[in-house]
Symmetry: C2
Subunit: 191 residues, 2 copies
């Protein structure tokens, strides 16, 4: 961040009065620019004993498999965003149950929060969107575990198949942190 | 948004190639500026049969009561942010249980997502921070229902005292929308 988005004056990195950390500030029009985490919203679409995965047609992790998800937009709820991303990436319509939040994950080193909602595929009429190479249903035994794009998706799928065994799906909270390029997984909630 | 924060060129509002909605774009340095919802993270601090509320010393809703909460910062998890805000606004230390997420609320008309975590007060050593006039424990019968600052806090407290009766605290999801200045409450999940 170099310039004020309102008046184009150069920004100054400083601790504003009454605050405890540095922010980009415009001393011309007296604006403080806050930077906050972004939300990634997606679904875990289920059909019978299978889940729907998409193979990424974009970087990062081109060619790897993932659950349909993407950045939440202004003007939508978390669930609306997750449904939109599922339509965009997998061409899939889904039924959302009332208690559908399944995993909540903070990625604090990249300033993201990920939400996955457990949903039912409304039909088998799905197809990869522009950001996906393939969209396919997988049984547990067929999941390409070595080719899953993101840690949060890997852990979400593992929780899901474990929870299927007793048909109890509590909200799972876990955070993913990176340290010295080695992934550490901190399970905040395993209830 | 008027100017590019990287090169100070005037921004253009247009639909970037391959996208489906207008974004602020810099045609000089070829940057697209995405605008996304912000997260508000807070706690519902419990001590015996009481909950801790703060009376706001800032606008909006100066003088009204609320749960300690504020904008999530880059570089923290949702729970870390909620604990930080509880320390800042109520001077309170809390014990966080593993399954502590309690309410999740989208306010799509103002581009916010609110998270409240159910936590235990670690001690009675609390005091209002700079953004609070008072911090006080309330039994259910003492809650100043007509002076609660925000709808999400009102609904979170109502769920909590109802759930106390059978000591079962599932994650509650509900969205708050405004229409013609009249508040509509859409309960997405009442499980």
């Amino acid at each position: 961040m170099n310039y004020c988005q309102y008046c184009a004056a150069p920004l100054v990195l400083k601790i504003p009065e009454g605050e405890d950390r540095e922010r980009y500030c415009c001393e011309e029009c007296d604006t403080v620019f806050y930077q906050n985490p972004k939300n990634v919203v997606g679904t875990l679409p289920v059909y019978q004993d299978k889940v729907l995965l998409c193979r990424r047609a974009i970087e990062p992790r081109y060619g790897k498999w993932t659950l349909p998800a993407g950045f939440m937009e202004n003007g939508e709820t978390c669930i609306e965003g997750a449904i939109r991303e599922t339509a965009e990436e997998a061409g899939a319509k889904v039924h959302v149950k009332e208690d559908s939040l399944y995993t909540l994950t903070s990625y604090k080193h990249i300033n993201q929060v990920h939400f996955y909602f457990r949903v039912e595929l409304a039909s088998l009429d799905f197809a990869p969107g522009i950001e996906s190479l393939e969209a396919r249903l997988f049984r547990e035994s067929e999941i390409p575990w070595d080719h899953i794009a993101f840690t949060v998706v890997n852990i979400t799928l593992k929780h899901y198949f474990k929870d299927c065994k007793n048909q109890h799906f509590p909200v799972r909270m876990f955070d993913v942190t990176y340290s010295n390029k080695k992934i550490k997984r901190t399970l905040v909630s395993e209830s």
